[in-house]
Amino acid sequence: MNPEELLEIAERIVGWGRDGEQIEAVVGHSQETDVRVYEGEIESLSVAESQGVGIRVIADSRQGFAHAGTLDTDVLEETLAEARDNAVFGSPDEFFGLVEPDGVDPPVLDLYNEALLGFGTEAKIDLALELERAVLAGDSRIVGVESADYGDALSADAIATTTGIRSTGRDTSCYVTAYSLASEGEETQTGFGFSVGREPGTLDVAVAANDAVERATRMLGAAQPPSERVTVVLDPFVTAQFLGIIGSTLSGEAVLKGRSLFADRLGDQVAAAGVTLVDDPTNPEAFTASDADGEGLATRRNQLIGGGQLERFLHNSYTGRRSGSASTGSAVRGYASTPGVGCQALSLVPGDRPPSELIAGIDNGVLVQGVSGLHSGVNPVSGDFSTGAEGLRIRNGELAEPVREITIASTLQRMLLDVAAVGSDLTWLPMSSAGVSLVVAEVTMSGA
């Protein structure tokens, strides 16, 4: 379905509103193909179409919500009735209310590429097979490819409200990804690689294959080092995961509800001077770029930390209103939930030195190439973090032996202040934050 058809449905729902009632309808539709190959054959091929609607009702300062996975008229009516009924049981809150158009023009972004539509199933299968072959051929120690996938999606959505919001959007996306197994003697290590784009022509199978080969083979022979305090260089992919967590502490919701460790720190130096952190979904380079947020407001560039100084928190309409400011266009949601607040395309402003130069300046350190258990090991409220990690030792400015079964630990507060350098290698990833090499001093590494 195209965005206009979805908007028609959303407008129809909004039209059912009664006096004294605010209604918001979010309607989404997507078409997806996923191919997985294994040992030269198609293991699975899925084609799917899905749609859904989320309806929010605000009446007497109370809010109710309901969602459904179909767009049949009887279901739409039932969903609205359910949202209306749910509103009766919520607590009244004077700050509840749908957003009104704020006059900011949405950026013009090119997120929909028709080339994806003309890309046939056979070609998709071939891409996945090509990737599997490339990984296997990459190194004699690669003994298997656990999975090689091609996937794409064509998504459209629309938002309408009784307060005059009318927003539509659509985008295309595709990816290839492989999980590899490398073996030497008794030992096995794993790796992964991927490439993402808006249409298959921009996918780089060679890069995905190289990463999968490299990540698995470089870990062969890894041992657990003794515990010590070291300087770490975070691989861009690792930095991006940390940024996502730091971003969550800068949400207006966390601040208002007393769950942000930065709540009273606006204007303070919370990070090293080299740290400038920006959430900018208007940047077309970002894989998660979007012209409108989850409430239908135009997205905008928000600088959160500038030169290490905390400058702003992100808001949706509720947290903006309640904190006496306004939405920063940062409502995030799917159709199955009410809008939260979050980063949409977060990145550090890159420095001017490539990772090789950063590493050359470190006597004793670890290049952290992968982390695991980040979400169970980071407490975004207290700031404590401890995560499983693996990577390569850095000795006298050069990469040395691989290490595994280590953890790195610090607090988010300390880590931001201990940032010694930001690399020049900014990379957009299939997540809401970008990667860049990051040097952090004084991190505790636990091992044997």
């Binding site: 084609v47 809010q63 749910n86 049981f89 656990e146 169970s376 790195i408």
Partner: protein, 463 residues
């Protein structure tokens, strides 16, 4: 949910272009939740999804399509889409006559949540908020969530299988923030069972809220966790997730077949201390991972994976079992009709030992006592795992000492299994969990008695 003749017709349509096996999975799910945060009932939410997933198998290839259109025409369209993805088979396969066989439910559901007034559900939230705040003036924020779901499924396949299940789950969780001189700390507690509103006959929400609040308050006085390798004692029920991660995933037949498990080729071998028996049991009454049938229509089973330290078997889904010419072990699960099933755990637990737990602690000179674990993650190919300690203490001179701040524990699955030195006689199940694999989440349970592992790495910041 759907007329039997329509199901049979859809299966025939799916086999028309040469498929060897076809399956229709129909799901109708309703859910409701209520959230209190910041002292206010912020939101009640209701959800409804229904649809069907259809797969067609030819050789090693599976074609899959799903649709929310459950009319005969809608299903036929999805069947053709699935079939076109898996074409090229020899053809001639017919749909066997469907014979309905329903497995017994693991337990009764007494009070369907949908029959309970919303006001009654909301009232639980207010009580939890009050109880948590009353636990100490340092408690500055409370959030409480009530959630229930009812999932009705119907599975039919071209072998003639036809089975259904009506799965009800109810859950309640509280999370608190405490503020002290050392900053903010959090505490969390949740309960859930595959039952209805009678969950609250068993659990008082006030007590759950106090547990969550006390976890946060305790951590205000916590010192930085140590770093390095040392003995770890895990409390009853607190450590099931360790075995879920450390070895459960590695015993899933799909990963084993792809050489992505450290436990490949280990059946019949001694993989753990002789006192270790590991079981995955989907029939366990009232436990979070239980069901009557899995998402391929196979009745849930009790599967012994490790018996007296010897690896006895892996867990199986339908396709992996067919390939090996054996039966599925009832572990074929999927998040929803929009997903393909794969091998998943249910309730995975380490059976009871014989030692007095007090003796296990007393015999530990210096180490860490983990009362409660958070989430975890494993690399099945290497066996390396990591998980968070959400409530832990130092052990000094055989006694539980001061609390330590949050951190991760890391280790290696096969090494931990052989490193188990002592097993207590105080078995308990842990908190309800959601296991993620390949992007799909399903409800799982876990359990352990008190146990000591000779050495694991604690990822703290203290020397």
């Amino acid at each position: 949910m759907i007329d039997e003749s329509v199901v049979a017709g859809t299966l025939s349509e799916a086999l028309k272009t040469g498929g060897e096996f076809a399956e229709v999975f129909v799901e109708d799910r309703r859910s409701s939740s209520a959230l209190l945060d910041d002292g206010k009932v912020e939101e009640l939410s209701s959800g409804r999804t229904r649809g069907a997933g259809i797969r067609v198998v030819v050789g090693d290839t599976t074609g899959f399509a799903h649709t929310s259109d459950l009319t005969e025409a809608g299903l036929a369209k999805a069947a053709r889409a699935a079939a076109s993805a898996a074409r090229g088979g020899g053809g001639g396969h017919q749909v066997a006559a469907l014979g309905r066989v329903d497995a017994p439910a693991p337990n009764d559901v007494e009070v369907l949540p949908e029959t309970v007034a919303k006001a009654t559900k909301v009232e639980l939230l207010g009580r939890a908020d009050e109880a948590a705040r009353a636990a100490g003036s340092a408690i500055t924020q409370v959030s409480a969530r009530y959630a229930d779901g009812r999932r009705r499924i119907l599975v039919a396949n071209s072998d003639g299988l036809l089975a259904g299940d009506d799965q009800v789950r109810t859950r309640f969780a509280v999370s608190c923030v405490a503020v002290g001189d050392t900053g903010m700390q959090t505490g969390f507690e949740s309960v859930g069972r595959p039952i209805g509103f009678e969950l609250f006959d068993e659990y008082e929400v006030d007590a759950l809220a106090r547990t969550a609040a006390n976890r946060a308050l305790t951590k205000l006085a916590a010192q930085p966790a140590p770093s390095g390798s040392m003995p770890v004692v895990i409390g009853p029920g607190g450590g099931g997730v360790l075995f879920h991660e450390a070895c459960g995933h590695g015993l899933e037949a799909d990963l084993v077949a792809k050489q992505a498990s450290v436990f490949r080729d280990r059946v019949g071998k001694q993989v753990a201390h002789p006192e270790v028996t590991l079981i995955d049991d989907g029939t366990m009454a009232r436990e979070w991972g239980a069901y009557a049938i899995d998402d391929e229509g196979r009745p849930a089973q009790r599967n012994v994976l490790i018996e007296n330290g010897v690896l006895t078997d892996y867990m199986w889904d339908l396709l992996r079992a067919r390939k090996e010419g054996r039966e599925s072990s009832g572990n074929g699960r999927r998040q929803s009709y929009q997903h393909l099933p794969m091998v998943r755990m249910t309730n995975t637990y380490l059976a009871n030992g014989t030692e007095d737990p007090a003796n296990i602690i007393a015999a530990t000179d210096r180490g860490v006592y983990v009362a409660h674990l958070g989430g975890g993650q494993v690399n099945t190919a290497t066996g390396d795992f990591v998980f968070g300690m959400s409530e832990a203490y130092l052990i000094e001179n055989g006694e539980i000492g001061p609390p330590i701040r949050e951190g991760n524990l890391i280790g290696n699955g096969p090494e931990v299994l052989t490193g188990i030195e002592a097993l207590g006689n105080d078995f308990a199940m842990g908190s309800p969990g959601t296991c993620g694999k390949d992007g799909q989440g399903v409800p799982v349970g876990d359990g352990t008695p008190t146990l000591r592992v000779a050495s694991m790495t604690i990822g703290g910041t203290a020397a």
